[in-house]
């Protein structure tokens, strides 16, 4: 029993919380870009919060159920459909679970206002690699074979709990504090809290002022490793401040290379680098860079380490509250009695019967 990849979408990988503790060997964390989304996806399925999920960028991913039914969850601003074996199509809403049966095809058509979506799979059965199933392409770590999902890949899952297969759960969409998804001119401006440093002293006072008062636009040059931003030039104190003897890089580090345009480093960020880092995005706000589309404007709010941590603790509290708000949904499409009627769960199953 597995989900078979029929279409890969633009970029789809398996991710969990990431592969921690190996940065001293030059190995990045990887991991899901928007960690709260992974937790929501798994909580909806009543499973451990860092069970691996599928992170998919933009639309196009299609998965087909092979043999046994499976419960999945969708998180994001997703437009998704389920095509059944009789060619009928139903819409699959996000922020809830769905049950897919043999032959059903789930397609993520669009990821809406966000760049990515997260798909949870109940009892997804992936072997961790150095403590994590997170895919890191550059060293072929994690995932199925260390790579992106490929057509024909089989995502195996363990047997589902038949008694709850027809029961579904949902959540309200979660909004991050920095997200403001309404803009008169169509250009969203999101607010991100950042602490100056570690190399804020490599920049002029004016540059620091500019960084925290102007907005920067997310360019098309954005991936799991980092996001290049465009905006007013951030000037280094002098030519010799444009490069430093290599220092640690972490997800959230904002590097400024010689051309003066910031790069926010993300989950796949390499571990050391020689560009000075003007600021570090709070861990709470890193997730926003996994979600924002090119064109989004970013306003960096200057905070100290105490306020940064307070911000992270507050986000954690909101996420916990949101996790606790999971509630059952009354499903008109596939409830337990319908599944029983289809002879898919419980009682005597007659495969031939189902095939006809």
């Amino acid at each position: 029993m597995s989900l078979v990849v029929e279409q890969t979408g633009m970029f789809s990988t398996l991710q969990d919380r990431g592969r921690r503790g190996l940065r001293d060997l030059g190995i990045p964390w990887a991991g899901v870009g928007c960690e709260p989304w992974m937790r929501f996806a798994n909580r909806l399925l009543d499973q451990v919060e860092d069970t691996p999920v599928i992170e998919t960028f933009e639309g196009g991913l299609t998965l087909r159920v092979k043999t046994e039914p499976v419960k999945i969850s969708l998180i994001g601003d997703v437009l998704a459909t389920i095509t059944h074996s009789d060619s009928s199509v139903t819409q699959a809403n996000a922020w809830r679970t769905h049950t897919l049966v043999d032959g059903d095809k789930l397609t993520i058509k669009r990821t809406g206002i966000y760049r990515c979506a997260v798909l949870g799979v109940q009892h997804l059965d992936v072997t961790p690699h150095y403590g994590s199933a997170s895919t890191y392409l550059n060293a072929s770590l994690g995932g199925l074979n260390g790579g992106t999902l490929q057509i024909g890949d089989d995502l195996p899952y363990a047997e589902q709990n038949a008694a709850t297969l027809g029961e579904h759960k949902s959540l309200q969409p979660f909004q991050f504090p920095g997200e403001k998804n309404e803009a008169a001119d169509g250009n969203l401006t999101w607010t991100v809290q950042a602490v100056p440093g570690p190399q804020d002293d490599a920049f002029t006072d004016t540059a620091l002022e500019t960084f925290f008062t102007h907005t920067f636009t997310v360019t098309a040059d954005i991936d799991r490793m980092g996001a290049r931003l465009d905006g007013p030039e951030i000037k280094h104190r002098s030519a010799k401040h444009k490069d430093i003897v290599s220092d640690a890089i972490l997800p959230g580090s904002v590097q400024v290379p010689g051309i003066g345009k910031p790069i926010v480093m993300l989950a796949d960020a390499h571990t050391v680098g020689g560009y000075p880092k003007i600021a570090t995005v709070t861990s709470a706000d890193r997730a926003l860079f996994a979600l924002c589309r090119p064109g989004t404007k970013i306003q960096f709010d200057r905070v100290n380490t105490i306020a940064a941590r307070e911000h992270t603790l507050q986000l954690e509290e909101s996420v916990q509250q949101h996790l606790a708000s999971v509630s059952p949904v009354v499903d008109t499409h596939l409830n337990t009695s319908r599944l029983l009627g289809l002879n898919l769960i419980g009682g005597v199953t007659d495969a031939l019967d189902f095939d006809s």
Binding site: R20, G21, L22, R23, D24, L25, G26, I27, P28, H129, Y130, N138, A139, S140, L141, G146, A194, V195, P196, G197, P198, Q199, I244, V245, S246, D247, A248, L250, G252, S253, H270, T271, V272, G273, K277, T280, V281, T282, S283, T305, I306, A308, R309, H311, T312, L313, E316
Partner: protein, 249 residues
């Protein structure tokens, strides 16, 4: 000589303890001493929420879980429990010997290095072989070790024209450092030879051969020995442990 330690902020997830702004063995040793110290403090329960530490040439990044501890608490703990002078830094490090086939196609820059350093090609190779190197840090790519110091006569800036593709295994020098490229990648260092051993193996218990603070010596092999070892590597039968340099009896 050493400038005072600076505590630098890296958001709510890390504190950077900076020892200087140079590539210098004394700084690396100070970084490693602090790293060992932080591990001990964690064991003693002083640093709950410690996730990992990342040593670099100039600094130690102390990564924490902000839900458990604040960077300001980490700073206070370090100030209340300073590193003792006799801190042992080399308890767990490995000593490796790495076979290298120097020159010809394996090390196409031996001659240009000889020219730039006013040495003969044999002297370039001999001086690269003579040193025992310390792994100053790993980074840039998984398993990519920056080793130092090279013989001062071999100190050169990076090539003015970086190569689009440097083959994996290439042994190269730049500045006061040497390295073995674990992967095919672009690179601007001067290529002296090639090592047939894998520097990264995603099937091994630990994926990289080198760890920070290990020591490395190189030994010269001929093309036949290189080809035999390369065959072993392709067949996946190379055991890193056979290349540990056991001290002579």
């Amino acid at each position: 000589m050493q400038s005072p330690v600076r505590y630098l902020n890296a958001g709510d997830t890390a504190l950077i303890v900076e020892f200087g702004n140079d590539i210098d063995k004394a700084l690396v040793d100070a970084v490693n001493a602090l790293r060992e110290h932080v591990k001990q403090l964690h064991k003693q329960g002083h640093l709950p929420g410690l996730q990992e530490t990342i040593p670099t040439f100039r600094s130690l990044a102390i990564v924490i879980d902000p839900l458990v501890i604040s960077v300001d608490e980490v700073k206070a703990t370090l100030q209340n429990h300073p590193v003792s002078a006799q801190q042992n830094t080399s308890t767990s490090s490995n000593a490796w010997r790495l076979p290298v086939c120097y020159g010809s196609d394996f090390g196409p820059d031996v001659e240009s290095v000889a020219k730039a350093t006013h040495l003969s090609t044999d002297e370039v190779i001999a001086s690269h072989l003579r040193q025992t190197y310390q792994v100053y840090l790993l980074g840039f790519q998984p398993g990519y070790g920056f080793l130092g110091d090279t013989d001062p006569r071999l100190h050169l800036p990076r090539r003015t024209e970086p190569r689009i593709r440097v083959p994996a295994g290439s042994v190269a020098i730049a500045m006061k450092l040497t390295c073995v490229y674990p992967w095919d990648c672009p690179g601007g260092w001067h290529l002296l030879g090639r090592c047939p051993l894998p520097m990264f193996n995603a099937q091994a218990d630990r994926p990289t051969m080198l760890s920070p603070n290990d020591t490395v010596t190189f030994e010269s092999i001929d093309a036949n020995a290189f080809n035999a070892l390369e065959k072993d590597r392709i067949n996946g039968v190379i055991q890193w442990s056979s290349w540990l340099n056991h001290s002579s009896p």
